[in-house]
Structure formats: C-alpha cells, structure tokens
Amino acid sequence: MLLVDGGARPGGQYWRHGPEPADPRSRHRLRHGWPTFQRLVRRAESAGAALLARHHVQTVVADKAGWLVDCLVGDEPSASAVGTAIRARRLVLATGAYDRQLPFPGWDLPGVMAGGGVQALLKAHGVLAGRRVVVAGTGPFLLPVAAGLVAAGARVPLVAEANSPLHLAHYPGALAASGPKLREALSYAVWLTRGHTAYRRRHTVIRALGTDRLQAVQVARLDRHGRVCPGTIRTVHCDVLAVGWGFTPQLDLANQLGCAGTVGADGNLVVAVDRVQATSVPGVWAAGEVTGIGGADLAVIEGSIAGRAAAQAPVPRSLIRRRARLRRFADALNAAFPVPAFLLDDLPGEVLACRCEEVPVRAVREAVSELGATDARTVKLLTRTGMGWCQGRVCGFAVAAATARACGRPVSEADLRAMADRPLAVPSTLGRLQGGEPPSH
C-alpha cells in the first residue's frame, strides 16, 4: 500500500502544517480536527502504508497488470531530474481541490491572492500574507481565512460575503450537520469580533485598485440577483485581498484515466462515483473533493469507504449513511453560496480572463460573436485561454461560463472538460520526456 503525496507532509491543504509551528500558541487555532488527522496517520502507518512524499504524479496509464504511475520527485517537480514509476493493481484518487477563481477588474494586481494561498502561508510557515487584509468572495471558507489572519495579528477590516448565509436555513440538508458546524462558525465569529472585523452579507469587491500592487479595493452591495447596487460603492484600503468563490477539484489524473464525470451541484466538473466510491474505470476509486466539493469531514468518510472498497472489504452501512448526511449538507452549502451574476455577466472586456496568456474577457466573447465559436474548446483554440503554464486550472471555470453565456446556453460538461483535460499533470522538460525508463517500484 503506497500513499503517493505531492506534499512534503501528509494532510493536503486542510491539515497543512510546517515542520514546526512558528508560534506554538497558534497551533490549535489553525489545526482543526488535529486529533482526527493524527489518528489517521497512526492507523495508516500501523497498517503498513508507505508514504512517498514530494512525489508529484505526472501521468497514470494502463499497464499489463493495472496502472503505471509516473512521478516527479521534489518540491518544484518541473525542475526535478528525479522521477520514479510505480506499478499499481488498484488506485484510489484523492487529488483534492483548490480555490475557484473568477476574473474581476484588477484581479491580476500583486496582493490579490486566493484565500487558500493566504491560509497556506499561515499554516505552513507562520507568515502573514499582508498587514491589512480584506477577505471577499463567497462561502464558509471566508471565515477561517479571516479568523486565522486576525489570530495571527493582521488587521482584517472587512469580510465581504457576496451571498447571505441566512439562506442556508431554506435547505433541509443544512440541518443535517449543523451542530458542530455552528460551533465552528461561532468560534470564527469570536475572532472576527476581537479583530473589529466588519462582516457584510451581500457585499463584494468589484475592483482591486493600485498601479503595480494592490492598495485598496472597491466594495459594493449586491442585490438579490447578484448585481451591483448603484450608489453603494466605497473604497477600503488594504495591502492584500484574500478572495475565493468556493473550490474546484483537481481532475488531471481522473481525466487521464478516462473516469466518467458529471457537472456537480457546485457547478464544477466532478468525478462520478457509485455507493462505494468506485469510478467508471474498473480498479479506480475516488474520494474527497474530486467527487464534489464537500469539506474535510466528508472527504474522510469517502476515503474510509474507498479504502475499504479498494481492499475488497465490506463497507459498513453507517459510513454510507454518514456520507449521505454530509453530502446533503455540502449540497445545501453549494446552493446557498452561488457565484454572483456580476462576475458572470457584467465584466468590462479588458479584464483578463486568462492570467497566464494575458487574454482579456473581450477575446472570449468575440470568439463566440465574431468568429463563430460554439464551445469552450474552440474558444480555447482561438484565444489561447487555458494554454499557458497553469493549463486552464485558474481560468477554466470562468472561460467555460463566459463561453456558455455568450452562446446563450448553460455550461456543459464538454465546456468544462475542454478546459480540464491535461495529458501531463505536472510540467516537465523536453529532456525528461525524452529520457529513458525511470526506476520503478
């Protein structure tokens, strides 16, 4: 049993930690469910699982007896000369997720960061991304980002939540896991109160301001339809903006393997799995955020189910029931925190859609209106969106959405897949690709 992990340590982004916390007092503020994590690590070790850390899977291909998992080894795998190939009979994919981003005016200014990146700096290194940080976007994740910053000594003048969390009460699923979650939300609220942080519902950042770095943001109220209310715009000074619109799964390996997908409740392309987390490809299971954004507790349950199924052990009904409950809660969260219309419809044409290739939103719209594109794949070919270093990881959702809107139809699975198929999950030099057989496990 091998655990192939791209990180230096297990735990992914949620249980991300450095070798030693910079400030011992901060350890428990940032480490939610830490006893659970420690228990999981102990159980994996005692079960004889070997951890291959800093192993970034570049490709997974079918082999005679199962799969050949080709990895690059190191912190920065694209610069790595060390590779290794692993033969596996069965695979469990748990490739996680990352912050979902959407373009807005000024989003490419240094100082505008993903909430997850701000968290990573704090959790792994004890480093504050900035001294005066505005947190904006939508979804429950804004709270731990803001609370973590306040606890570490930053000033957080504002948390701008584009939706209204009170809407959660409309969804029966929300009650399914509400006890512990409510306590967690309240613990964040305490930090925000201590930090004199204003929490504004139905408010969002409509523009990031600055010449060569972020200096301030423009904040406005949104109406029920997610559009900017005129006359409500005000400026808030800050040196960092932590922004996020939910999360989106890392699908590289699932797509390489040909696992069937579907458009999930979160609007993302996700891997389709059955009751025991089996994908459409025999011998491959998937667990966690790749099957649909649902948070750490659900990911742990799905992992338990997938592990048992992959080991051909029975799956207790209690695990299936717990997963269903947590899935209903996740679905309620997704429905209550949608991406606001202002980000999808009202962007000025000069805003960058693709950061890597510096392609403006205008080019995407013109590909449809002037050049006859009817899907995201054609838009990508005509505009180069999604062809840069990040290979569509950042712009994929937005380009698919902008394309569909310009075509006057909903986003299709094909649109999302066009921006998410990557033959190489990790960039590599031509020299390495030309090289001989790497040593194998």
Partner: protein, 87 residues
C-alpha cells in the same frame, strides 16, 4: 539568509522562497511576457504558476513550492527568464 535582487532577505528553515519574500514585504518578482505586468503569489499552492521566479540562475521556479536554502540567489524574472526566447 537568501538574497533577492542582491538584497539580503531573512529566511527561516522550511520556508519557501515565496514565504521569505512575502515576509520581507515583497509582493511581486516577475513581469509578464506580453504586457510586462508585475506578478507574485496568487493561488499560493502551486496551481496558478503566477509566482515564477529565477532561483540560482534557473528561471520559472514556483516560489510557493520551492523550499529556500541558505545562500539561494533569487532574482526578478522578466517574461520567460530566457531573454528573447519565447519559452
């Protein structure tokens, strides 16, 4: 201790280049290929490739993933970091 564009920059064991630069108040360390716009950390977790920087003469290292080693020489990357080459 590492240097950034010749300036000594404090660094703790285990920090990435990105963490060290951020702790020193540096927000950007490369310019884009087309418009020459400054970029630094964006996603912070190795997904976006905005944070590319030249380390010990090697361009396009993701600062958020690359662990800083004592004596590392970090420099601002213009475009590809390979002069006039396209990539």
């Amino acid at each position: 201790m590492i240097t950034f564009d010749g300036v000594e920059t404090p660094c703790r064991a285990g920090w990435t280049i990105g963490a060290a630069l951020t702790a020193a108040g540096v927000r950007s360390w490369r310019t884009t290929r087309r418009a020459g716009r400054p970029r630094g950390l964006f996603c912070g977790i190795g997904v976006c490739f905005d944070c590319l920087v030249t380390v010990n003469g090697r361009p396009s290292m993701r600062a958020c993933l690359t662990e800083a080693r004592p004596g590392d020489v970090v420099s601002t990357q213009d475009g590809t970091g390979h002069g006039d080459r396209a990539c």
